[in-house]
């Protein structure tokens, strides 16, 4: 079930009514409704993979209890590794197995049938990378004594399958989300209205910005050899806007939906296009993923020798490479990640002693241009992210740098889409200290004006939505 679908429009109010109707004092009943709704939400996509979620949940639930149930350090380690092997094994099997088999065969120039392993006809379960990381972090945190394991199975199953963030995050830490399942949630009208406003804003970003951008991006990237430099650059900028609108829109809907049920989810985006460097970009983009990799990959590598620059740089490359690979089993994603790592390492090189400026920013000297410069770098590197393969990415970069005339640019420009995009960017920049532009709007506008704004947004969403596209991050 997609957030921007009619069925979700029916599902959400029904679930919400049931949830609040049982009364806020009956936490167990509320959690049960949430869990049933979450499994229904996921099962509509493919009910068979419900077993996988339940299995993953149970493995980590019992692993965490087993870790705390023994004093023996070796046994604790064994349970932790068991959980990690299970989680990464499932992820590898569904997401990476075919890629590695194909690449292995290619490397040794082997035909099908010449090697013992053959590719599997498996589809990638939606949200696998998200919930696997969430459950894995729970077990690691229990092992590291950061949190105590929960004995309440219903709460734990709800934490893993919580439908607003099940399929595409935000990736929540158990210490943030799990306790919310045991607390009493009261119906706070202000919060609920805030949630609805955030959903509205998310739908606008997804359906008007991302889906319209997708139409142009798909057209250009389907046959880049037919387009000139400016068109390719324009399509690449649009891809950045598409993925931003798509994923941050999704996150807004997820966070807003959670608010309707009295839950608080982590912020996942913080106006990434204002980042002054690539390092800062990754602190503003998919924040929960970056946080996960920082906590569970980067810090464990550097903690043994905090002063070693070499170790730190290796850790950056490895972390960013894994972040790239997390997005999908393809060389484009791996190269994308490593390239981001390279840029971050480059930013860390001091020009002179005691100065922290990075050398490739030096020629610019003008601070206001930094966001533009980093946005350009991110846009160019996102070509790798969008291209079907490395050859395509290289072709696009080559064509952009060859200054091939773009007679066709006119057909790619859509005045409505561009107007709405500019409006979105202005609104977000002007309200950058808030979670989203409509946040707390009731504090400074009267009700009729507010309602006009809401109706206008609903009208724009209805009238100018692009063709329905799946959320990009569903494939990850």
């Amino acid at each position: 079930m997609l957030f921007n679908s009619f069925s979700f429009g029916l599902f959400l109010p029904i679930t919400l009514l049931l949830y609040w109707a049982v009364g806020f004092k009956r936490i167990k009943a509320q959690n049960f409704i949430l869990l049933a709704a979450s499994y229904f939400f996921y099962g509509l996509w493919d009910w068979r993979f419900l077993f996988l979620i339940i299995a993953s949940s149970l493995v980590d639930y019992f692993a965490a209890l087993a870790i705390k149930g023994t004093e023996n350090a070796n046994r604790q380690k064994m349970f932790l590794y068991g959980s990690i092997v299970w989680n990464l094994g499932v992820l590898f099997l569904f997401k990476y197995y075919n890629f590695f088999i194909d690449e292995f065969a290619l490397l040794f120039n082997m035909q099908q049938g010449e090697y013992a392993f053959s590719t599997l006809n498996l589809i990638l379960p939606v949200g696998l990378s998200f919930y696997t990381f969430q459950t894995m972090s729970y077990t690691i945190d229990v092992y590291k004594n950061r949190i105590a394991p929960t004995k309440n199975l219903l709460n734990f199953l709800g934490f893993v399958a919580f439908f607003p963030q099940l399929v595409a995050g935000p990736i929540e830490k158990a210490s943030d989300l799990l306790p919310q399942f045991s607390k009493q949630r009261s119906f706070d009208t202000t919060q609920v209205k805030e949630g609805l406003r955030q959903i509205l804003w998310g739908l606008f970003k997804k359906m008007v910005i991302a889906d319209n951008a997708a139409y142009i991006v798909n057209m250009v990237y389907a046959s880049p050899e037919n387009y000139g430099s400016l068109s390719l650059l324009y399509a690449s900028v649009l891809f950045f806007l598409q993925i931003y609108g798509d994923f941050s829109g999704y996150s807004d809907i997820a966070i807003g939906t959670a608010k309707l049920f009295g839950f608080k989810l982590s912020k996942n985006f913080n106006i990434p296009y204002l980042a002054k460097s690539v390092t800062e970009f990754w602190q503003r983009w998919h924040i929960t993923l970056t946080r996960w990799f920082t906590d569970y990959v980067y810090f464990p590598i550097i903690q043994k020798n905090l002063r070693s620059n070499v170790r730190r740089n290796i850790a950056i490359f490895l972390t960013m490479g894994l972040i790239g690979l997390w997005h999908g089993a393809d060389w484009t994603f791996l190269v994308f990640g490593i390239f981001q790592g390279f840029l971050i390492v480059l930013e860390r090189i001091p020009l002179r002693n005691n100065r922290r400026s990075s050398f490739y920013y030096k020629p610019l000297k003008m601070k206001p241009l930094f966001p533009l410069f980093s946005a350009l770098i991110i846009t160019l590197s996102s070509i790798l992210f969008r291209s079907q393969n490395i050859n395509d990415a290289w072709l696009i970069v080559q064509r952009i740098l060859s200054f091939i005339p773009s007679r066709e640019i006119g057909i790619l420009l859509n005045k409505y889409f561009l107007t709405f995009t500019v409006c979105m960017l202005i609104a977000e920049i002007l309200t950058r200290r808030k979670d989203f532009p409509l946040s707390r709007i009731d504090r400074y506008t009267r009700s009729p004006i507010r309602w006009v704004i809401y109706y206008m947004l609903i009208f724009i969403i209805f009238q100018y939505a692009g063709f329905k596209e799946e959320f990009i991050y569903f494939q990850f």
Binding site: S5, S7, A21, F187, M219, Q463
Partner: protein, 328 residues
């Protein structure tokens, strides 16, 4: 049980919740009312699909030929000029998958159906099928009574305006507000637009030099995986037509010389090899290959690089008639 009943009734909500529900009802009521008005207005629109659907209902016992395919067949085949009673169910971006589902969904209503005209154009075998959320599924269901969703349908699937609000809003604007527009479509009783001249070529006054420099969209990217699955699907469709004892005319629609030049030769070669295999394998199939026919089709017959205007359609329909004669 009474406790559960009570807990799930409106009385179980507290004052703040009831107030919030009331606010929601007041807020969403105008949205729902406006939507209902738009839906009703959209249903009144005399669009091509509606007229074709009405014709399908009223002439189902007479129809002998069914035209399927994308916008090229939609623009290129005028059933009014056909020698046999015909209907054109082709529409923009309609793929073989939709063609097949429409054929299967209408065949039982067409007792006299003998011929099928459908298209295997240049990129047909290497373009992916639409997703199950394709907006025209609602249209097919509403107007043709055909379920192309490949799942059980529910009331939302019959909502026309909601399927593609932007398209229907523009149609509503044209119909109700801009009734004096000069380039309006004029649909005949078969749903064919007899005033479909206002394309790029007319804008450029049919000037070959200007047309030569005009940018147009063409897919040149090869996709072998899609080719394999599409070809398999095409054979499935032909097997079905053979089993139903239908005579099939596979059409490749005329293209303007700019377009012909820009085609990817490998894609053309693959498509042509499939067509030659089909001709050998199926004795109920004939080919009407007009893709590179520059003898019959001149610049003034085109709407744009790959679509015919009504004059071109007249010529193409005449060629279909000739094929029909040869089949009998």
């Amino acid at each position: 049980m009474p406790d559960l009943k009570r807990s799930l009734s409106i009385s179980s909500f507290n004052k703040a919740q009831r107030r919030f529900l009331k606010d929601c009802a007041v807020f969403f009521a105008p949205v729902i009312i406006v939507y209902c008005v738009l839906e009703i207005l959209a249903l009144q629109l005399p669009i091509n699909y509606k007229i074709v659907g009405e014709y399908l209902d009223s002439h189902s016992d007479k129809i002998m030929l069914i035209g399927l395919g994308s916008s090229q067949v939609k623009c290129g085949f005028n059933p009014a000029l056909s020698n046999v009673s015909a209907i054109n169910l082709a529409s923009s971006s309609q793929h073989h998958k939709e063609d097949f589902l429409i054929l299967k969904g209408t065949i039982d209503r067409l007792p006299n159906l003998k011929y099928v005209l459908f298209e295997v154009s240049y990129m047909h075998l290497e373009l992916p099928y639409h997703s199950k959320d394709y907006w025209k599924n609602n249209i097919y269901l509403k107007y043709y009574g055909v379920n192309t969703f490949e799942r059980n349908t529910y009331f939302k699937d019959r909502l026309v305006y909601l399927s593609y609000p932007r398209f229907f809003s523009s149609k509503l604007k044209d119909y109700y507000l801009l009734s004096n527009k000069t380039n309006k479509s004029e649909l005949n009783e078969y749903g064919f637009d007899t005033n479909n001249y206002y394309g790029t070529f007319q804008k450029l006054h049919y000037d070959p030099d200007q047309i030569k420099n005009q940018f147009f969209k063409i897919y040149t990217r090869e996709n072998l995986d899609i080719f394999k699955s599409n070809t398999a699907y095409l054979y499935k469709m032909l097997d079905y037509m053979q089993a139903k004892k239908l005579k099939v005319i596979i059409g490749t629609m005329p293209l303007y010389k700019n377009y012909i030049k820009r085609r990817n030769p490998s894609v053309v070669r693959r498509r042509d090899s499939v067509l030659s295999v089909i001709l050998k394998k199926y004795d109920n199939v004939v080919l009407l290959n007009k893709e590179t026919d520059t003898v019959h089709f001149k610049i003034k017959d085109f709407l744009n690089e790959n679509h015919l205007n009504p004059d071109g359609a007249k010529k193409f329909t005449a060629l279909v008639n000739q094929k029909l004669d040869s089949l009998n």
